[in-house]
């Protein structure tokens, strides 16, 4: 019986050792070879004193070594913490401290930077792919020729801690047990029909739940995973052709770019059998063009949070009739729409999406209060499921007459822009530093390329210019948080009875003006 993805890897290595597991620029790696390399790394990790349940960091660009590291850590009964290769050293050090990482697997460039910044000494052991300048680190190529050996993890063991985005001030680590990863792969396999003949393109980082699922689904089905480091649309199209990719999972902004490229180039990708999009809504013009660019593909749109991996999908047969919807619950998951004042919502009534089932994570690493806020018993569901805890997503949705779910917005006004979650209050706080500004409202506006763009409305008395205001904001905020458009509210902004700004009215008025100007 397969309890974990590691069991699936071993089964593949025993029964079909010569099948291709990994495709990359260096060639291919078979299931036999992958399992052996992971087993050898697991043996080494234990030999250098890695204890059961230890968190091990992996900070590598997309490569076969990265895949071997993820599986090797599982095989030593460790917890893999994938540190996105894009993160700054500061972000990596924050995560190291947050979950207590002692062992790091990285590349020579990163290792040398860590030495230069005095951060390398904070790890007990560093394993380096490439040629590090320091001799206290172990080179990947010098790993001893140990016999492959796995300590068998239980499905209840933690497999990974997933730090979402890593961009906002203090990202939280989502705890994913092996059970969750295996079930995630099984469920996705069921509705996408992944099989051993598939060649899946892996463009997304393994630090995302969605990206990691391409690896786990691939192993579960003994399919081939093609590692694509370069994210340019032209390079993705080339990779699809070169490797005859059958499964193409991307995030919405990449679909926008790829579809534009394919239309411009009058090119199609006929080998793709199924395509998926997740990580934010895909804009309608892109959705409409996808069937033209992917003539043989079934297209499935998916929705989920790291905290619960996957909640809904829009099956491909509903792609046209329900275009833009987030769809229905994935197999073996139940979705409730709940209004916190009145209870379970009727058709077309807006409420929070509540996710029930065994894809729910263990919550946040060492943050029990945050965990209890989002994974808890819901009073309205007690008559149906008793004391079972469910995931509160904070996303507002409605269910139409046909039972299909549509995304409405965030409960908390969080703006999602180019993959970052931005809190409006942080932007508004920075705006308060602009001389003469007495009030500010920030909000997200749908944008085809970035998901949302940040709009900032200022109540100002002294005729400050756009340029001056933006330069103050730039000095206060990282670039992705700097608003793309500024508006000045001519008079005092409307207030509600408590004296607080009437945000809804302000946002509504600005949005209507924007829409008029686009149409006119």
């Amino acid at each position: 019986m397969l309890f974990t993805i590691l069991d699936a890897l071993e089964a593949a290595a025993n029964e079909t050792p010569h099948n291709t597991a990994i495709l990359d620029d260096h060639g291919s790696l078979s299931y036999g070879g992958l399992c052996e390399a992971a087993g050898r790394l697991a043996h080494w990790l234990v030999s250098v004193g890695m204890t059961r349940g230890a968190r091990v960091g992996v900070c590598l660009p997309k490569s076969r070594e990265e895949v071997i590291a993820i599986l090797g850590i599982a095989g030593a009964r460790g917890v893999c913490v994938n540190l996105n290769y894009q993160w700054t050293l500061g972000q990596i050090d924050y995560v190291r401290d947050d979950c207590g990482i002692n062992i790091l697997i990285t590349d020579a460039q990163r290792a040398d930077l860590m030495i230069a910044e005095g951060l390398a000494g904070r790890f007990l052991t560093i394993l380096v792919v490439g040629e590090p300048s320091a001799d206290f680190m172990t080179r990947w190529e010098d790993l001893p020729d140990f016999s492959p050996h796995f300590e068998r993890p239980l499905s209840a063991d933690l497999a990974a801690i997933l730090y979402t985005s890593g961009s906002t001030g203090r990202p939280k680590g989502v705890m994913a047990p092996h059970e969750m990863l295996r079930r995630g792969a099984e469920i996705v396999t069921q509705y996408l029909g992944t099989n051993a003949d598939d060649r899946i393109l892996s463009v997304l980082p393994f630090s995302f739940g969605y990206g990691l699922n391409q690896l786990t689904s691939s192993i579960l089905n003994r399919a081939a995973l093609a590692l694509q480091r370069i994210v340019m649309p032209s390079a993705i199209a080339e990779a699809v052709m070169k490797w005859e990719i059958t499964a193409l999972p991307l995030v919405a902004p990449s679909w926008v770019q790829l579809v534009r490229f394919l239309l411009d180039d009058e090119q199609t990708l006929p080998t793709v059998r199924y395509a998926t999009s997740a990580g934010g809504a895909t804009p309608l013009p892109t959705l409409k063009a996808m069937p033209i660019c992917l003539p043989n593909a079934e297209i499935s749109l998916m929705y989920g949070l790291t905290e619960g991996f996957r909640s809904t999908y829009l099956p491909s047969h509903l792609f046209h009739s329900k275009m833009g919807a987030i769809g229905q619950a994935v197999p073996n998951v139940e979705i409730f729409v709940v209004n916190h004042e009145t209870g379970i919502c009727g058709p077309n009534e807006v409420g929070e999406l509540i996710h029930r089932g065994d894809l729910i994570s263990r919550g946040y690493w060492q943050r029990p209060e945050d965990t209890a806020r989002c994974i808890r018993v819901n009073e309205y569901l007690r008559p149906l499921i008793g004391e079972e805890k469910v995931l509160h997503t904070g996303d507002l949705v409605r269910r139409d007459e046909d039972g299909i779910l549509w995304y409405v917005g965030r409960n908390d006004g969080i703006i999602k822009t180019s993959g970052h979650r931005v809190s409006p209050s942080e932007v508004e706080l920075a705006a308060s530093e602009i001389p003469g500004v007495s009030a500010a409202v920030a909000f997200g506006l749908a944008d085809n390329d970035l998901g949302q763009i940040i709009i900032l409305v200022l109540e100002s008395s002294n005729g400050i210019t756009d340029k001056e205001a933006i330069s103050v904001l730039r000095s206060q905020l990282p670039g992705y948080m700097v608003p793309r458009r500024l508006f000045f509210w001519d008079a005092a902004m409307p207030r509600i009875s408590s004296g607080k700004i009437d945000r809804v009215t302000v946002i509504d008025e600005i949005t209507r003006n924007l829409n008029d100007s686009i149409e006119g």
Partner: protein
């Protein structure tokens, strides 16, 4: 706009990416090394479009045009010269 845009671009990259750690050299590879991902690419393209007031075609988003600061500068120069 040459030197001015170079500063604007570098400021953008410093506040949005970890390029500063790699030394902010004009020749350092951004995408072929995996230093920037697809979100960063979309954001960078949108940033250049707004700063330079021209549209970038999807066909133009290639390693040849975007893989380093100097390549981006050459690309922007060509686009604005037209």
């Amino acid at each position: 706009m040459g030197a001015e845009f170079e500063t604007v671009l570098k400021n953008y990259l410093v506040s949005n990416t970890r390029i500063k750690e790699a030394g902010l050299q004009n020749e350092v590879a951004l995408f072929s090394t995996g230093t920037l991902d697809s979100f960063a690419m979309t954001d960078l393209v949108a940033f250049i479009e707004t700063s330079c007031s021209f549209r970038i075609k999807a066909k133009e988003i290639t390693l040849q045009n975007f893989d380093s600061i100097s390549k981006i500068l050459v690309f922007v120069q060509k686009k604005t010269a037209v």
